[in-house]
C-alpha cells in the first residue's frame, strides 16, 4: 500500500513538473502576449495542481491533505481569473493578438 501511494504520488509530481517545464518553454517560445498567457496558465493550474495532488497522496488522509486541497481549490479559482483579467486588460489597452486580421491590428 505504501509502495502504491509512493508510485502514484511520484507519477503525479513528475507529471506536474513536466507541465511546469512545458509552461516555461512555452512562455519563452510563444510569439506574442496572448499566446504566452496560455503556457503561463498551464503552470498555475496543471503544474501546481498535479504537484499538490501528488503531495496530498503523499500526506495521506489528514489535516495537511485538507489544507493542500484547499490551496488547490483556491489556485483553481484564482489563477484562471488572473490570466483572464490580464488578457482583458491587454485587450482593453489596445493590444491585438498576432494572428488577428491585419485590419484589426494596431501599429506597434
Amino acid at each position: 500500500m505504501e509502495l502504491v501511494a509512493d508510485i502514484v504520488s511520484w507519477a503525479l509530481l513528475g507529471a506536474g513538473s513536466v507541465f511546469i517545464v512545458i509552461g516555461g518553454i512555452g512562455l519563452l517560445r510563444m510569439p506574442d502576449f496572448f499566446t504566452r498567457l496560455h503556457p503561463a496558465g498551464i503552470t498555475d493550474t496543471m503544474g501546481a495542481g498535479l504537484i499538490l495532488l501528488g503531495l496530498i497522496v503523499q500526506a495521506g488522509f489528514s489535516l495537511v491533505s485538507l489544507k493542500l486541497l484547499l490551496i488547490m481549490a483556491f489556485l483553481f479559482i484564482t489563477s484562471p481569473t488572473t490570466t483572464h483579467t490580464t488578457a482583458r486588460a491587454a485587450l482593453a489597452a489596445g493590444l491585438k493578438p498576432l494572428l488577428a486580421p491585419e485590419a484589426d491590428r494596431k501599429d506597434g
Partner: protein, 140 residues
C-alpha cells in the same frame, strides 16, 4: 467594472474566505505564524478587493467612513485599555499576568486582546488609506 462577470464571481467566491483567513491569522496568531498586524492587512485586503470590483461607492456602504474612523481609535483604546487593567490589579502597565488564573493564562488572554486591538486598528487604517487615495478628486 459592472461588465466583468468572471472577476465579480471570483471575488464573490473569495472575499468570505479572505475574511475568514484574516480571522484565523488573528486568533491563531498565538499558536502559529500570524498576529494582529498581518490579520488586519488581510482583512483590509478583502474590503479593498470588494472596492476594486464593486466600486468605491458600494464599498463605502459596506465600511462607512464614520465607523472606520471610530474603529481606528477603538483598536488603540483596546490596546491601551488592556494595558491599564493590570495597573488596577496591582501590576505594571501591560503586564498581563494578573488577568488570568495563572501567569501563563493571564499572558495568553492579554496578548490575545492586545493583538485584537492591533488587528482592528490596522484593518481600519488600511481601509481608510485606500478610501482616501481612491476617492481623491472624486468627492469633497
Amino acid at each position: 467594472m459592472k461588465h466583468h462577470r468572471v472577476l465579480r464571481i471570483a471575488a464573490k467566491l473569495l472575499i468570505p474566505f479572505i475574511m475568514l483567513f484574516g480571522l484565523y491569522v488573528q486568533f491563531h496568531g498565538d499558536f502559529g505564524p500570524g498576529g494582529g498586524f498581518q490579520a488586519g492587512v488581510i482583512f483590509a485586503a478583502a474590503i479593498i478587493l470588494y472596492a476594486l470590483i464593486f466600486g468605491l461607492e458600494n464599498a463605502r456602504k459596506v465600511a462607512p467612513t464614520r465607523i472606520v474612523t471610530m474603529l481606528i481609535s477603538a483598536g488603540v483604546l483596546l490596546f491601551a485599555g488592556v494595558g491599564v487593567v493590570p495597573m488596577f490589579l496591582g501590576a505594571n502597565y501591560l503586564d498581563y499576568s494578573p488577568l488570568g488564573a495563572t501567569q501563563q493564562s493571564g499572558q495568553h488572554i492579554g496578548i490575545l486582546l492586545v493583538e485584537f486591538g492591533v488587528g482592528i486598528t490596522v484593518a481600519a487604517t488600511m481601509i481608510a488609506i485606500f478610501f482616501q487615495f481612491a476617492g481623491r478628486g472624486r468627492d469633497e
